[in-house]
């Protein structure tokens, strides 16, 4: 578990490579921060994040038995909003409640093919290496996307 003497992790993410696809490893001082950064990582695959303005928001509420399933459902919920409402997001506020409850606000705007620098669609969240684990100074979330 997190050691009190560890310096809290700066929130952030990196993309990594698997043969045909791409994954993200996201970190933060709290599980909430790691989940928010994982979502930023997913949208970084689909679009240049800097170009996504925070003009609209959507609230996401869901529940899961453990952090791993929570991560999967959280990203799937966002993907659903992207496909069904054409929304892109670049900023996330995540809070975790009791009994595996997640409440989050995602900020972004509808897809604008003229202005956004788009990448591949994320087709699915795979279970390859999927997980959230405590590390020195915080938490690390890992997920591989099928694109």
């Amino acid at each position: 578990m997190t050691n009190a003497t560890d310096r809290p992790l700066e929130p952030g993410f990196e993309l990594f490579e698997v043969t045909a696809d791409v994954g993200v490893v996201a970190r933060g001082p709290t599980p909430e921060a790691a989940l928010a950064e994982a979502a930023r990582g997913m949208y970084a695959v689909m679009v240049e994040l800097d170009g996504v303005r925070n003009r609209e928001s959507r609230v996401v509420e869901l529940r899961a038995d453990d952090l791993e399933h929570l991560l999967e459902r959280w990203l799937l919920e966002l993907l659903f909003l992207t496909e069904s409402e054409d929304m892109l997001f670049s900023r996330f506020e995540v809070t975790l409640g009791e009994a595996g409850a997640l409440r989050a606000t995602a900020y972004g705007e509808p897809i604008d093919v003229e202005r956004h620098v788009l990448g591949p669609e994320v087709k699915a969240i795979t279970r390859h290496q999927l997980g959230v684990r405590p590390v020195a100074g915080g938490y690390e979330a890992r997920v591989v996307f099928d694109i």
């Binding site: 993309l15 990594f16 490579e17 698997v18 043969t19 045909a20 696809d21 791409v22 689909m46 679009v47 799937l76 659903f80 992207t82 496909e83 069904s84 054409d86 897809i111 093919v113 620098v117 788009l118 990448g119 591949p120 669609e121 087709k123 699915a124 969240i125 795979t126 279970r127 390859h128 591989v144 099928d146 694109i147």
Partner: protein
């Protein structure tokens, strides 16, 4: 993982086996069709281990098979084929994949490269305008729930009734463009919502529409039967699947099956192999939902076929009949199908999973359309956008060894980002244009990830098929224009 040479047994130059002793729990050996070079590529990742893991699945018969384009997937390797007995076997959504019934098509034409070349840019622009692709691309059809149910039941025929193509097209599609047993009640609302506006869209990633030209005829008799004439003939090769509709359906059933592993006492080395007995509510419901998503994919390819014909008609001022734009064939490469095979001298019904693998049925097989039955099924093997693609024909050897299956493409050789890094600073559109290939893509970032460098040389992949006696090369095609998401 130990060096592959420590556990792989070589049978001959193109066949390799993973013995059941490799991992406790394997029910049958793994078998890989590959040259030494292709095998070494697969050994650099988890693809061989995944081939062994598939051999754990209950009811698997003969071998866990891997085609020469094998690369790492999720649970199953891409290029994996596995057949299960119906009575005690399982069906696994991961053995089909997220993009249910993804597949490819070739549309013929009587145009020549010499005729098309002067108008190639115009043609590429027209195709790019007319075929929705990439993120946020919407189809022209906004479907009601009832219409979506009809698509799920009827597949390509639904599109034909809406004016997209002709009844003749249906005879040139695997399974007639309609998988039996589809049940819309087994498809979630979420899958419907994701798929509703995406019917008639290409998607992104490795999906494409390519204008190609016939480069070499390798088997003149079969080529003529497939509608190929002389080098220079122009054809269209396209690749797409069931879009968000299929992706969500796979996701839904991965969840459902993972939840019942214990109930059925199924122990697996990778949770992504989640499965359920074919004869169980979960297995039956999955197959009914998979067929619904498969029919969505057939309808999607049918729609894009007609959009392609119309774009050609606009540019060349003649309708698609005058342009000879008949369908050659449509093959699926992500599916699980109940098929009759012969095993150990007896007929047996099996559920054949093909994950990134296509059928390659030989001459005389009842599932080969009548017009090709005396020569064998056309096998479409796309390469990468900078080199070439092949059409092959299924051989009897495939029925004896691979449940009538072959590879579905070139296969990835490295990650997308590695390709991107490698090509950073290189103007890929210009590089391809210098080679005479016009590219229209929604985003250049994706394009670099799809460069030739990201794929194996498809020539080396189809060579394995021919040497192993499971398919024979018929023609080689070269790209002229590429449309991508």
């Amino acid at each position: 993982m130990a060096s592959w040479e420590d556990f792989i047994q070589q049978i001959d130059d193109y066949r390799w086996e993973i013995p059941v002793s490799f991992k406790e729990g394997m029910r049958v050996p793994g078998r890989i069709y590959a040259s030494r070079q292709l095998l070494e590529m697969a050994a650099q990742e988890e693809a061989l281990e995944q081939t062994a893991n598939v051999a754990f699945l209950p009811g698997i018969v003969w071998r866990s098979l891997a085609m020469p384009d094998i690369h790492q997937g999720y649970g199953f390797p891409i290029g994996g084929v596995a057949a299960m007995r119906l009575d005690d076997g399982v069906v696994s959504p991961g053995g089909v994949g997220f993009d249910i019934n993804c597949g490819t098509r070739i549309i013929l034409s009587n145009l020549t490269e010499a005729e098309v070349r002067p108008r190639l840019k115009e043609l590429a622009n027209q195709l790019f305008r007319d075929i929705p692709a990439g993120m946020g691309g919407h189809g022209a059809l906004d479907l009601t729930d009832l219409e979506l149910n009809d698509v799920m039941h009827r597949g390509a025929a639904w599109m034909v009734d809406r004016g997209y193509g002709s009844a003749e097209d249906l005879e040139r599609i695997e399974s007639g463009g309609c998988l039996p047993g589809a049940d819309p009640a087994r498809v979630s609302q979420r899958a419907r919502d994701r798929g509703r506006r995406q019917l008639g869209t290409l998607g992104s990633g490795n999906h494409f529409v390519e204008v190609q030209t016939l480069e070499h005829v390798l088997d003149p008799v079969t080529a003529a039967r497939f509608g190929f004439t002389t080098p220079g003939q122009v054809v269209v090769f396209l690749h797409t699947g069931s879009r968000g509709f299929g992706h969500q359906t796979c996701q839904d059933y991965l969840d459902r099956m993972e939840a019942v592993q214990k109930r059925y006492s199924i122990v697996l080395p990778d949770r992504q192999l989640a499965c359920a007995p074919i004869r169980s509510p979960e297995g039956e419901h999955y197959l009914a939902a998979m067929a619904a998503a498969g029919n969505y994919a057939f309808a999607n390819r049918q729609c894009i076929t007609e959009l392609t014909r119309r774009a050609f008609a606009r540019v060349f001022g003649r309708d698609d009949h005058a342009l000879g734009m008949e369908l050659l064939y449509d093959v699926a490469h992500n599916s699980a199908k109940i098929e009759r095979h012969t095993y150990e001298g007896r007929p047996i019904d099996l559920c054949v999973h093909r994950k990134g693998a296509t059928r390659a049925f030989p001459a005389g097989h009842p599932d080969v359309p009548a017009r090709y039955r005396d020569v064998g099924q056309p096998v479409l093997v796309p390469g990468d956008m900078g080199r070439y693609s092949y059409v092959a024909v299924g051989l009897a050897g495939a029925m004896q060894e691979t449940w009538g299956s072959v590879c579905h493409g070139a296969g990835r050789v490295q990650s997308r980002h590695a390709a991107l890094r490698m090509l950073r600073g290189v103007d890929l559109v210009k590089r391809l244009e210098d080679e005479g290939i016009i590219v229209r893509a929604r985003n250049p970032r994706l394009l670099a990830e799809e460069a030739s460098e990201a794929y194996k040389d498809v020539a080396s992949v189809v060579d394995v098929l021919e040497h192993a006696g499971i398919a024979r090369k018929v023609v080689r095609l070269r790209p002229l224009a590429v449309i991508k998401g």
